[in-house]
Subunit: 220 residues, 2 copies
């Protein structure tokens, strides 16, 4: 029997799909006008299977009304609640170069319950900068700042060769969730979550689409 | 009957999975040492279903040897060939701010068959800069440069409100594949491919993992 206080563990693919439903409903004005959306509408717009949409929504307790559909507000509330956007956790960004700066400048962190308290860099020329109100600290101070702010999550935006030693230091300081933009795999102990962002997946899709198009074939 | 000269159209999810296999095989030293990898190894390391791995590889013509597995070089060659990394297409980046700069600085474009010929920005202070040998041009010159270089793909890294008018101009100039980092949906005519990069999916996963961890639950 399911413990009601402890939600079912969702795997990474379900979490990603829930975010796609969330964005779709948040952005599609036509759907929002009625206040309801059907699983068929979601499935059609995301080019996926209707049954899977219903299964995912049922897994987070969203029930539709027959012939009306799912309440868009109810759906968004359930995703926010399930994924923990209402809780707040401190985060740091390791690497204050172009990519780290771009991510720090992204206004969305707070909306998803993450508060960036510091950026770190080893380049003295960058230390002391302030990006969107967030200070750039020397990476030597990383452990101290992490402990001081009870930081549990980190974004890594350093070159590949620097990533693993930094990940080791982050984990040793108490970080439990890492978003890795360095183009290399990270080895972490069990219980630490890593999301590896492969920028090349986007490049590969563009390349494939252009090739298909040239061959006169169908669309991706 | 399948036309042999025209490969089967793969949907976006298969393309993404092929890229994950490709990276896994390229990065895992233990797998590479033997020169072979089994679908079970791939499935285990990516936490997915064995059958799906075999089906995906069969779809691109990769055949395993019984009790030995798939040749890692054969697998990588097939992905490169299928996805068109050996062909070359010109690309542009629209928006030369932090994110556009970070993407332009990414060394991987060429590896996937895309050559960035220009960045565009509306800020005169940025025009004339050169990032990794790529010039920043004023956005007024966008159509001219696209036509001159036969550009077919574009990366959009501008604020949400600027994205749609720029996408319209790109499409009108002949661009057929867009990688959109602006936090908004784009409307494009049929035949134009858009990959929308939702940075918030990564944030949501971190938030969810930290929440689950706090509740003493399992991992994402």
């Amino acid at each position: 029997m399911q413990d009601r206080k402890q939600p079912m563990a969702l795997n990474q693919l379900i979490v990603e799909r829930l975010m796609h439903y969330y964005h779709l409903v948040a952005e599609q004005i036509e759907i929002n006008a009625s206040g309801y959306v059907s699983s068929a509408q979601i499935a059609h717009l995301l080019d996926m299977d209707d049954t899977l949409v219903r299964k995912d929504l049922a897994a987070i307790g969203v029930r539709g009304r027959p012939r009306v559909g799912f309440s868009t507000n109810g759906l968004m509330d359930a995703v926010r609640e399930t994924l923990g956007f209402n809780e707040h956790y401190n985060a740091v960004i390791v690497g204050a170069g172009r990519l780290g700066g771009a991510i720090a400048s992204y206004a969305g962190f707070g909306k998803y319950g993450l508060d960036v308290v510091a950026l770190f860099d080893s380049d003295p020329a960058r230390v002391g900068d302030v990006l969107r109100g967030i200070p750039v600290e020397h990476v030597d101070r990383m452990e101290e700042v992490i402990k001081q702010h009870g930081v549990r999550s980190a974004v890594i935006t350093v070159p590949a060769e620097a990533a693993q030693p930094l990940a080791d230091r982050l984990v040793a300081s108490g970080v439990r969730a890492i978003w890795n933009f360095a183009p290399t795999s990270l080895v972490v102990p069990p219980g630490v979550f890593v999301r590896h962002e492969h920028i090349s997946v986007g490049l590969a899709e563009l390349a494939y689409y252009l090739k298909r198009n040239d061959l006169g074939g169908g669309h991706i």
